[in-house]
């Protein structure tokens, strides 16, 4: 173990003596965090991400129009948060709902969109909803989501609020109608409807019950949202550059014969390789530390999920370390290594959501993102930094990254040439 650490420390010393290391490790990532952060802060607008929910409203009249109460229920949901976009009814010219010209949604389409992650939840308002609410009968409004039921979910809480309001207004209307029929000869039904409307209006006048908050920062600062994207995005991209540069160093070590010299010493190959991997891993974590420290200096609040955040970073850096050593098994020139690393990073970083939020790209691009390690990392960062997720929300990205690391490491170690 001692020798592993000394090999790693030696590699780190050499890395930090390279010309331009501070430029690549600090200056350029910091500038890109600022630039991309400002761009994203403007583009995302309003400083947040819209949350899509599919709605199938089966409570329609003979004329095909939705019942007034169902319509009011959906309006109530909209009132709970301006971030919620109901699809297809709230679709806009930019096709925010990603419907590709469809105007209605079948239940099957809803399920598919939910599985693909296009929407965060789906809502089905059953036929007879209005009649049941007004008569005080039980009615099932179906809400579906992939979110762990044990975890707090912004969308379901807003739907619950809307249901609560509708239910409360319904009760108020029934109480009012009953009282009215006892005390006067007027139209009790019309009175009840009027009470319902008033009760609904009163609810709406109350302050927003559930706000879309991932942390306690001042939401008026749109820059923070942009930086919340650019810090993990540019940080991850530069982790790729920093760690993958190790492939060039391996090549240099082989060329200058220091790798071979180590093998002739009383050090096992596993110790040599372990030390070199540790050094690359440490460089990656240092790169993340630079990016997130700068983010904190900009006032970005990364929440209190430190352990999940670290776990996610470590999984991604480990995956990049594995790829570095796989590259080291077949590249033969520094030019080839530099070209391959640049190509790999510049293709996968934007594809994986390092430059902009994946929510703003078409669904097929979101699917392609999952073919890249950085896509999984950014998905995890999104859960932690945008949706207030915790450990359970990043288990899938972490598992995918660790699984990929194991496979790539196995391949790299069996193919690795020392001489």
């Amino acid at each position: 173990m001692n020798k592993v650490i000394h090999v790693a420390l030696n590699d780190l010393t050499i890395s930090f003596r390279e010309k331009g290391i501070w430029m690549n490790l600090v200056v350029i990532p910091v500038l890109l965090i600022l630039l991309i952060g400002f761009v994203n802060g403007q583009t995302v607008g309003g400083g947040t991400t819209q949350i899509l929910m599919d709605v199938v409203n089966l409570d329609v009249g003979e004329d095909g129009e939705p019942s007034a109460l169902a319509d009011g229920f959906l309006q109530t949901i909209r009132q709970t948060s301006e971030r919620i976009v109901l699809c297809p009814m709230d679709n806009d010219a930019d096709d925010i709902c990603a419907l590709d010209d469809a105007t209605t949604l079948s239940e099957a389409a809803q399920t598919e969109r939910l599985s693909a992650g296009t929407v965060r939840g789906t809502l089905i308002i059953p036929a007879g909803f209005e009649a049941a609410v007004l008569s005080g009968s039980a009615v099932d409004v179906i809400y579906r989501s992939d979110v762990d039921p044990l975890q707090p979910d912004f969308l379901v809480q807003n739907v619950q609020v809307a249901v609560q309001r509708v239910g409360a207004a319904s009760v108020a209307a029934r109480v009012g109608a009953d009282a009215f029929s006892t005390l006067s000869d007027g139209d009790a039904e019309a009175f009840g409807a009027a009470v319902y409307t008033q009760a609904e209006a009163n609810w709406a006048a109350l302050a927003e019950t559930i706000a879309f908050r991932v942390n306690d920062e001042d939401e008026s600062s749109s820059d923070n949202i942009g930086f919340r994207q650019s810090v993990p995005g540019m940080g991850s991209m530069y982790v790729m550059f920093t760690v993958l540069a190790g492939a060039v160093l391996l090549l240099q070590e082989r060329k200058q014969w220091t790798l071979q010299r180590l093998i002739t010493m009383p050090v096992s190959r596993a110790q040599v390789l372990g030390g070199k991997m540790t050094a690359r891993f440490a460089m990656g974590m240092i790169q993340y530390a630079v990016a997130f420290t700068f983010g904190a200096m900009l006032g970005v609040n990364f929440g209190d999920q430190i352990i999940p955040l670290l776990l996610l970073m470590m999984s991604f850096v480990l995956c990049m370390t594995a790829i570095t050593f796989l590259l080291g098994t077949f590249i033969e020139t520094e030019m080839q290594a530099s070209g391959l690393v640049t190509f790999f990073v510049l293709i996968t970083a934007p594809l994986g959501g390092a430059w902009w939020p994946l929510e703003i790209v078409p669904p097929f691009m979101q699917t392609l993102a999952l073919l890249t390690p950085i896509g999984w990392a950014m998905r995890g960062f999104g859960e932690l930094l945008f949706y207030g997720g915790g450990l359970t929300d990043i288990l899938l990205p972490v598992a995918v990254l660790l699984g990929a690391s194991a496979v790539i490491f196995a391949l790299a170690i069996t193919r690795f040439k020392y001489e």
Binding site: K3, T13, I14, E18, Q256, T258, R261, I263, T264, E419
Partner: protein, 353 residues
């Protein structure tokens, strides 16, 4: 004497890209005695470095094994490697680190730490005469200084056995002399065994207690210099340089007819194809093996060499010159039986070929 290296049947086969196999080393047997300087002499590509790489644990033999101080390099590599100090042909150092930092890092790899490490590093820096430059980065050093640090790394743990793989390649005569003296010091002052590979006959001749001659992956002869030269008899070699003058085979017939002349051959050497060490004409001479420096200085590009083996070379020299019948001669050298002659005798080729 105690045997410190005992290699048996070392074979290394490589697979080419086209799927065919090539045997770089074809079953080498070696016995190296404790405290001796053993040279592995052979031309470039003969299999010297592959052999040394197998017995230093860098590459695994396709078959065969080597015992280093009784430890198998394939089965007990860590134990065997503790006894070895490898000094590769390449400058295997971290160029951006100082001489001291390089020595300290490699010292740790040999299991040295703390005060012991510091003391050994000081000792080695003193030995290689670089104490005053210890804090300078290696990439600011001259070629000779880098070579000395390269040697120093292999001596840090006071190994019983030192492998030196062509350590004088590409350096000036002064540093070369220093390295050859170092080899003697390692044996005489530090009681180390040295396995030295070279393609330079003069180095093998000067340094070695025993020599193994290797060609095309085979050790074709092994023994002391006296034992080896005995194989080629008493003939001297007469080497005649004609400069750029061309010669026909028929011009050599009169020489072949002379009494005591055993063989005559001629060749044209392309001087511009020879590796020339900067500011070191002598190194070119060594590679050509002619003793002539005129060719290089006059800028000529080819040189015709006639090599004659004859009993009592000096006595027949005047007859040979007469037999050349007025062909202009640039230089003449008479050599007594040496390792070059042994190699020529065994392979039909000169070492430089």
């Amino acid at each position: 004497m105690q045997t410190i290296v005992e290699a048996r049947g070392l074979v290394k086969t490589y697979r080419r890209n086209d799927g065919t196999e090539v045997q770089a080393v074809k079953g080498v047997d070696l016995d190296i005695q404790k405290g001796e300087i053993f040279s592995l002499l052979g031309p470039n590509g003969a299999g010297k470095t592959t052999t040394i790489s197998m017995i230093s644990g860098l590459i695994k033999p396709t078959s065969g094994d080597a015992l280093i101080g009784g430890y198998s390099i394939t089965k007990q590599p860590l134990e065997a490697k503790r006894l070895i100090g490898v000094i590769p042909q390449e400058i295997a150092l971290y160029p951006t680190l100082s001489a001291r930092a390089n020595l300290e890092f490699f010292g740790k790899m040999y299991g040295l730490f703390g005060k012991e490490l510091a003391a050994r590093v000081d000792e080695v820096l003193d030995f290689i005469d670089l104490t005053d430059r210890q804090k300078d980065r290696v990439d600011t050093f001259s070629g000779g200084m880098k070579r000395r640090v390269n040697i120093g790394v292999g001596l840090l743990h006071r190994p019983q056995l030192v492998y030196m793989d062509e350590p004088t390649v590409g350096i000036d005569p002064q540093n070369r002399r220093r390295i050859l003296d170092t080899v003697f010091r390692l044996r005489d002052e530090y009681d180390m065994t040295v396995l030295y590979t070279t393609h330079l006959m003069e180095e093998a001749q000067e340094l070695s207690d025993r020599v193994g001659i290797i060609d095309h992956g085979d050790v074709i002869a092994m023994g002391t210099q006296a034992e080896l030269t005995k194989q080629v008899g008493e003939e001297d070699r007469i080497i005649i340089s004609l400069g750029e003058e061309q010669i026909e085979e028929a011009n050599l017939e009169p020489i072949r007819q002379l009494t005591n002349v055993q063989s005559v051959r001629h060749e044209v050497i392309r001087l511009d194809a020879l590796p020339i060490v900067e500011n070191d004409d002598e190194a070119v001479v060594d590679k050509r093996g002619t003793g002539s420096m005129l060719a290089v200085r006059s800028g000529q590009t080819t040189e015709t060499i006639i090599t004659i083996t004859a009993l009592g070379g000096r006595k027949v020299l005047s007859q040979i010159i007469t037999a050349l019948n007025g062909i202009p001669i640039q230089s003449v050298e008479v050599r007594e039986p040496d390792l070059e002659a042994v190699f020529l005798n065994l392979t039909g080729r000169a070492l430089r070929d």
